[in-house]
């Protein structure tokens, strides 16, 4: 069964086409990643699907309801973690969740039990009487995630859940997302961290400039992009012309004394390297082979440099 069906969804802001006729489906219980650089249209897509912005064109159904005509029914069945943590600074964690649970019409009898469970699940129980603004960034993010779950939603929308978090908080949040997957929630998450998409998502849509370039499982994306094993070599000096000549026909990136070579026959390449390096009187300082990552596939599929993805908002 499909939890989310999107057909030709489009958003114009004046002349700018922020989201350009995107189509995809998300199955129930799936973790679906929306991967793209800043300004790709990720937030705009989430805002349309969650009833915060009207689509210019196209249609979509979330939990079986039309996002424009049956917005309230959609809103009842989803939880949203917006890009910016926006609970109420002046209220405590508990008061915030209690307020949200009223907004979502959680029956009074269940309210406190559910909030208690969520706070324990998210390790926020000891902070329940702390005002939201006193929480660290990581804890704020967790509290917002907890708030998105008070109505026990079928589908969760997470907009860049780990952006701006330190490594430890980000990892703990990813762990929580995995637990939620285990609880059978359908999760639509956006990210500009390629690794995160690789780790968390069953399927990934790569979106650039409002258009979806590819949708598949991370494994299939790597296969599709045809990325091979990669040998990373550091030499004692710049690689000599003779070496580059021998590597012709292979995909080679040179950066100073570093070489990155894509190959489907690492053994032969290795032999050739050792031979050629020895002949030109250089030394091999380090040698590393790695299997292709989603980042390699991403670069192949989009033609973008990974630097573009590392660029944070406003930097």
């Amino acid at each position: 069964m499909d939890s989310i069906i999107v057909e030709g969804l489009t958003k114009y802001y004046g002349d700018l086409c922020a989201v350009d006729h995107v189509s995809f489906t998300v199955e129930a219980g799936e973790v679906f990643g929306y991967l793209g650089p800043n300004g790709a249209g990720k937030t705009t897509t989430i805002r349309m699907l969650t009833g915060l912005t009207r689509p210019s064109e196209g249609r979509a159904w979330v939990a079986g309801y039309d996002i424009v005509k049956e917005t309230l029914e959609v809103k009842r069945r989803i939880g949203v973690v917006p890009e910016v943590s926006n609970l109420y600074d002046e209220l405590t964690v508990w008061e915030n969740l209690e307020f949200i649970s009223r907004l979502y019409h959680v029956p009074r009898a269940e309210r406190h039990r559910r909030i208690g469970e969520l706070l324990k699940l998210f390790d926020l129980w000891d902070r329940r009487d702390t005002r939201f603004r006193r929480l660290s960034r990581g804890l704020k993010r967790r509290a917002v995630l907890a708030a998105a779950l008070v109505n026990d939603p079928e589908i969760l929308f997470l907009d860049e859940p780990t952006t701006g978090l330190d490594v430890v908080s980000a990892r703990s949040l990813r762990g929580l997302v995995n637990r939620l997957r285990g609880m059978g929630k359908t999760i639509f998450l956006t990210t500009h961290y390629i690794e995160e998409a690789d780790q968390l998502c069953d399927r990934v849509a790569i979106i650039v400039c409002g258009r979806i370039r590819a949708i598949d499982t991370p494994e299939n994306l790597k296969l599709k992009a045809g990325v091979k094993s990669i040998l990373e070599v550091e030499l004692s000096d710049r690689p000599p012309a003779s070496l580059l000549e021998r590597l012709r026909g292979l995909e080679v990136e040179v950066e100073g004394r570093q070489l990155r070579v894509h190959t489907d026959n690492p053994q032969m390449l290795l032999r050739l390297l050792v031979e050629e390096v020895g002949r030109s009187g250089l030394t091999l300082l380090s040698l590393r082979s790695r299997s292709p990552t989603l980042e390699d596939a991403f670069i192949k599929l989009t033609g973008l440099s990974p630097e573009v993805m590392r660029r944070e908002k406003g930097v």
Partner: protein
Amino acid sequence: MRLRDELEGIYAILLKDLKAYYLKPPNISWGILFPIVLALAFTLRNPRGLRDLAPGLVAMAALFGTTSMEAIVVTFEKRVGALERLYMAPLTYTSILLAKVLGGAVFGGFISAVMTLLCVTLLGMHISHPLLYVGGLALSLIALSSLGALIAFSVREVFEAQTLSNYFRFPMIFLCGVFIPVGSLPLPLRVVAYMLPLTYTVELLRASTLSPSTCPLLDLAILTLFSAVFLLLTHRAMGRAYG
């Protein structure tokens, strides 16, 4: 069922706003001090004509009480993204709007109540028609709070809301019969006065504290109309945010 959900939502937002903003100690003390200062200022200047002025003072308290804090609350929440929390919830815009308007009205009601108390105890105001007084004041609070909401939802920044509110507030104080009876204004200004809601508030409060001079039913009807128009326009402004 649906209606109960909406009412529950309105109640939750109202309670949250009161707790998070309106009932903070600085606002409570402002709510008490503002009427006292206002009443004192006029007592010192003109100790005799005060009984006449009392309904105008209450109207002014209602005006400032409803519009000042409400505009700050709405524009502040808009800026920090907390207003979007409400849009994310399964609630109609109508309910969100009503909750915000009620918040302003409750706070304005509190300040008007303090002012009423001062006017009755210190200035000798006599409420001869309590039902009309309370009803007229309540309706005025809704109308003025709806005007405040219209302003707050139409602008982006806190200061814009303040500036725009003042464009309405100061003319109202001088034109709507707070100090100068509307009847003694030159005709063009009188026309403007009858296009402003506060005029009807003052008329109603006068009618319920002195002997009714105009038909209070007409005032009540006009204030209801004002409320409806302001609410509809605000609803449209909220719809524009949806895009």
